[in-house]
Symmetry: C2
């Protein structure tokens, strides 16, 4: 290991985290296997290994944690990418997620890279975000300069409120997707919708499917396949009730009513 | 709304978060629909609505964030459950996850509820955890008094190191699952393995499938189906390479070598 090329540097960082003695010959051999695998991935056909994406994720009060962490898992695994957690508030204040767990931001919407590779808006209590004029203006500005504009769940309604979905095909959480046309977008019932540089995902867990597609776009299919395998992403939903069609009309009506206040807040004026 | 029963209290809290004026008749109507839906869920056949589970999740240095947040999303949605993020270190110190994002603990392994409803160990840089004698002793103590002992990904190797998987059927991330027998457990190739009060999940994303099963166990199938729908959990993995069989031998060998240092650390002495 020279310690100078990016792969060796990455491995060195990992070793420091593992805190493991490399005096052990078995561990030394394991490290060598890992270095060789890094090089094998880097030189796989179609793979871009050295890149430096700026991923800006917006943390707003009551954002849905899994909307953010699902994509984060896959995007942060692109070695060389920088993740920016941009708060709509003060950078010294942790942002409360909808389940209560606070997350510490790394920057603010104003201080985030002004031309990000990816702008991503998670959902959650999105009505709070859409009523924050300063935040919506900042999202518009970032979106206009972003390479890709993306959202998970009801986050697409914030993109719409910022005027970034005008005439675009888009999706959202199933319970608020029908509100998109009121904001100038074209409603599409698909798990991930791509329209030019705008990629929107359906509810919560669809953010993972979106993120894996982004990895493929930036780093190649093999890199994305590698991350799917690493995350053992072969889901087996225990009840198979993840869509209104699957859940049936009764449970869907219950869930829609449960979420009615959010729907009401996101309705176009 | 009386504001005294748990449902009204929950709604009141939500309203405070939404920060929305209820003077608006449309919003008032939406709130009433939501209250009625809460009551409809609470009185659905087989549903337990009022309960107070103590969920203890262990945060260890380099834990895998999605291993934790996937289950957290579903378990924290059980209204009345209390989530405890128990650090292996000092409670004032955020715990670095494997992707770098720090999470603030709510308690320590020593101060967490001594007889939790669920003990959950996420994976990640699990070799650091298994070499922490104090943490492994605390996990053994908590596990012996827990109603359910659970893990995601390589977290099962920490349960094994604590002696909690002796003679038990269990799984783990596909790359380290074969190490379980060396620690006294019986290796099973399933996404979620139940053996008595021990439930182990396969790699990373399998934690969501585990958590939904836990919700069904504590709150009934309808509650779990409701949360699957809310999370729009109808995954569409873009490449379908989430298992070694699906990914094929070449990518699997690459991934296994990539992770070789972790495997080496978790091998039984």
């Amino acid at each position: 290991m020279t310690g100078h090329d990016p792969i060796s540097q990455h491995l060195q960082d990992s070793m420091n985290h593992w805190g493991s003695g490399t005096d052990d010959p078995a561990m030394q051999q394991a490290m060598e296997r890992s270095i060789a695998a890094h090089h094998a991935l880097a030189t796989s056909p179609g793979v871009t290994f050295e890149a430096h994406e700026d991923i800006v994720i917006v943390l707003h009060p009551g954002f849905e944690l899994l909307d953010m962490v699902g994509p984060y898992h896959f995007l942060a695994a692109m070695i060389g990418a920088t993740m920016h957690l941009a708060t709509t508030g003060d950078v010294t204040e942790p942002v409360r997620s909808s389940s209560g767990m606070p997350i510490t931001p790394t920057t603010t919407l104003d201080d985030a890279p002004s031309a990000p590779t990816v702008l991503l808006i998670p959902g959650g209590e999105t009505g709070v975000l859409t009523s924050d004029t300063h935040a919506i203006n900042a999202i518009r500005r970032l979106g206009q300069n972003a390479e890709l504009i993306t959202s998970v769940c009801s986050g697409s309604l914030a993109l719409a409120a910022a005027g970034l979905l005008e005439g675009r095909r888009a999706t959202s959480h199933w319970s608020v997707r029908h509100l998109l046309p009121g904001h100038g977008a074209i409603e599409v019932d698909e798990r991930v919708v791509e329209d030019g540089n705008v990629l929107t995902a359906a509810g919560v867990t669809a953010g993972m499917d979106l993120a894996i597609r982004l990895v493929a776009r930036f780093r190649g299919d093999t890199y994305a396949r590698f991350l799917e395998l690493g995350a053992e992403y072969d889901p087996q939903p225990p009840f198979g009730s993840g869509t209104p069609d699957q859940a049936g009309p009764e449970l869907t009506a219950l869930s829609r009513d449960f979420l009615a206040p959010l729907e009401e807040q996101l309705r176009a004026p």
